[in-house]
């Protein structure tokens, strides 16, 4: 019996200059050549083993927020592999420019490489890695969404993601030092201090637009009595959008510059601000591309650093936040690196009323901004927000109005969801919470 006809919601085609112009330049010969190079040399047998091992059980489907939000077969992780890598292997690289454009859309805007599906796969197939490889292929073919490609270009021209020039970076730090000294006269943002214990590194948007985060970090580091410095030369930006476009050569250069800057300053370790993808790039992707099993200089995420400062009694909490709060676990620091219990220690130490969202910890749903998806820019925003109605439900169920999220992209993604689904919620970084709750010793004040 025929299924009754239902009117499907009309979808407008999204036009992205990067994809249109990139695909228009392609030839079948070039596609086949690049595809076979990636499949046969860079990836060796791995892709074929992954695709052949998959038994199409579909357990990955309900792990994916795109599937949970849309419920369509093509939005399931296995469906995304079927439409991309599966076909590429099956056809031995003989695919059309139109196919590559569609593959780029799937890999760059319909997958956050969040790895939740990999966790649910009974064979442990790293589906996110397959999608990252599809992006790699699209990068080599020059078919990448325009906005994120612009960010990758900024990385290659300036070693930071927001076209910040060297003098502007230094000027920004000195400006924030000046503003912070009105509160704590002895505060210094020491540039290029050789032999300091810690190099503090951030991501481009902090100096570009959100300089208050640097002010706040300087306040915390001063109050905790830490011997720290920030580099005056390129290498201060720990972020890496090239990791997400598949430009692994640039990814490696950016990571090498970051670590070499720390080595030049002879610091004991690097502490990085509250960013998820940058953390993935230093402990997982970039270091391995460079052939380093582990980072050559210890590097820790801000949340772990705050946890250690609190545990060691270097910072003390004077008053706790009374407002009920919930916590969003960013994929890259939780599924990627297991920092979830440290974050809970922080929340409980600073907030009186902590309400968990469900699922949580390594089971948490992605914000749908990560993995470079929000960086693909305005053309893809509506699709991104519609593809995460499950997150809106998860946030709404907590019944609270404040969500802590220690990651820049999570903030962007959650704010878009909060505004679109009218959730009456706002987001904070841990540093924002600490500024409201921690004790600033009187001896440091003006």
């Amino acid at each position: 019996m025929a299924v009754p006809a239902t009117k499907l919601k009309e979808k407008k085609e999204i036009i992205d200059v990067g994809l249109e112009e990139g695909a228009a330049r392609l030839t079948y010969e070039r596609i086949e050549q690049v595809l076979n190079r990636v499949i046969n040399t860079e990836m060796a047998a791995r892709m074929k083993v992954y695709v052949d091992t998959c038994i199409h059980c579909g357990l990955c489907s309900t792990a994916c927020h795109y599937y949970l939000s849309h419920g369509t077969p093509e939005s399931a992780p296995v469906g995304k592999v079927k439409q991309t890598m599966w076909e590429i292997l099956e056809k031995k690289g003989k695919v059309s420019p139109e196919f590559i454009k569609r593959a780029s859309i799937i890999a760059s805007t319909e997958c956050n490489v969040c790895r939740r599906c990999s966790m649910y796969c009974p064979y442990g197939i790293d589906i996110a890695y397959i999608m990252a490889t599809v992006r790699r292929i699209c990068h080599l073919l020059g078919v990448t969404p325009q906005y994120i490609q612009d960010t990758a270009h900024s990385h290659s021209a300036t070693m930071n993601q927001m076209w910040v020039k060297e003098d502007e970076w230094i000027d920004t730090l000195q400006w924030q030092e000046g503003e912070a000294q009105a509160e704590l006269p002895s505060l210094r943002i020491a540039l290029d201090k050789e032999g300091a214990d810690i190099m503090y590194s951030v991501i481009g948007p902090e100096p570009k637009f959100r300089a208050q985060l640097i002010y706040q970090a300087a306040t915390l580091l001063t109050a905790a009595g830490v011997d720290w410095t920030m580099p005056a030369s390129p290498g201060w930006d720990n972020s890496d959008m090239c990791m997400f476009t598949g430009d692994f050569e640039m990814m490696g250069r950016i990571k090498r510059t970051h670590f070499e800057t720390a080595a030049k300053l002879r610091v004991k370790k690097i502490v990085m601000g509250e960013c998820g993808h940058a953390f993935r790039s230093v402990y997982d992707a970039g270091n391995r591309w460079l052939g380093w099993k582990m980072p050559p200089i210890p590097v820790i995420h801000a949340t772990q650093f705050y946890y250690e400062l609190l545990k060691e009694g270097k910072i003390k909490i004077a008053r706790k936040l009374k407002e009920p709060v919930t916590l969003h676990d960013p994929c890259n620091i939780v599924r990627g690196r297991g920092l979830h219990e440290m974050m809970r220690y922080l929340v409980n130490a600073t907030c009186e009323n902590f309400v968990e969202m469900y699922p949580n910890r390594e089971q948490n749903h992605c914000c749908c901004a990560g993995g470079g998806v929000i960086n693909c820019g305005p053309p893809w925003k509506t699709k991104r927000v519609e593809s995460n109605s499950i997150k809106a439900e998860q946030l709404a169920a907590t019944g609270v109005h404040l969500c802590i999220a220690p990651c820049h992209n999570c903030h962007g993604g959650l704010e878009d969801i909060i505004n679109t689904y009218k959730l009456n919620m706002h987001t904070m970084f841990f540093i924002d919470v600490l500024m409201k709750t921690m004790e600033i010793p009187d001896s440091l004040k003006a």
């Binding site: 960010t151 900024s154 920004t172 400006w175 820019g377």
Partner: protein
């Protein structure tokens, strides 16, 4: 691409609500529209100083300025900029001035 109808005028915007045609499509009506969606009670001289500066800088450099330069030229400390534009220099002020959405993790 979507369109916004506001007080008898139509503006083409991207999905983040930035003016798609950029400065060529920008006018005072757009400022009035952004004021409402950003929850800014009144657009005063201080807002206009920011809008004029952002447009000048963008015309010369093809990119939005660092917030440091924004602060230095207008004379407003960072806190003041956030008071004028609650969603910040990148999302709020650039939108009102008709600049495109900045790239990067914003």
């Amino acid at each position: 691409m979507a369109t916004i109808d506001f007080k008898g005028k139509t503006y083409e915007v991207d999905e983040d609500g930035f003016l798609a045609g950029g400065l060529a499509d920008w006018d005072e009506g757009w400022v009035d529209y952004v004021k409402d969606i950003e929850g800014i009670p009144v657009v005063g001289d201080e807002h206009w100083k920011c809008v004029n500066f952002l447009q000048d800088y963008y015309k010369k450099n093809g990119i939005a300025p660092m917030v440091r330069i924004f602060s230095k030229v207008t004379g407003y400390p960072l806190k003041k900029i956030y008071e004028l534009f609650p969603s910040g220099p990148g999302k709020g002020a650039c939108k009102m001035a008709g600049l495109p959405k900045p790239t990067g993790c914003v």
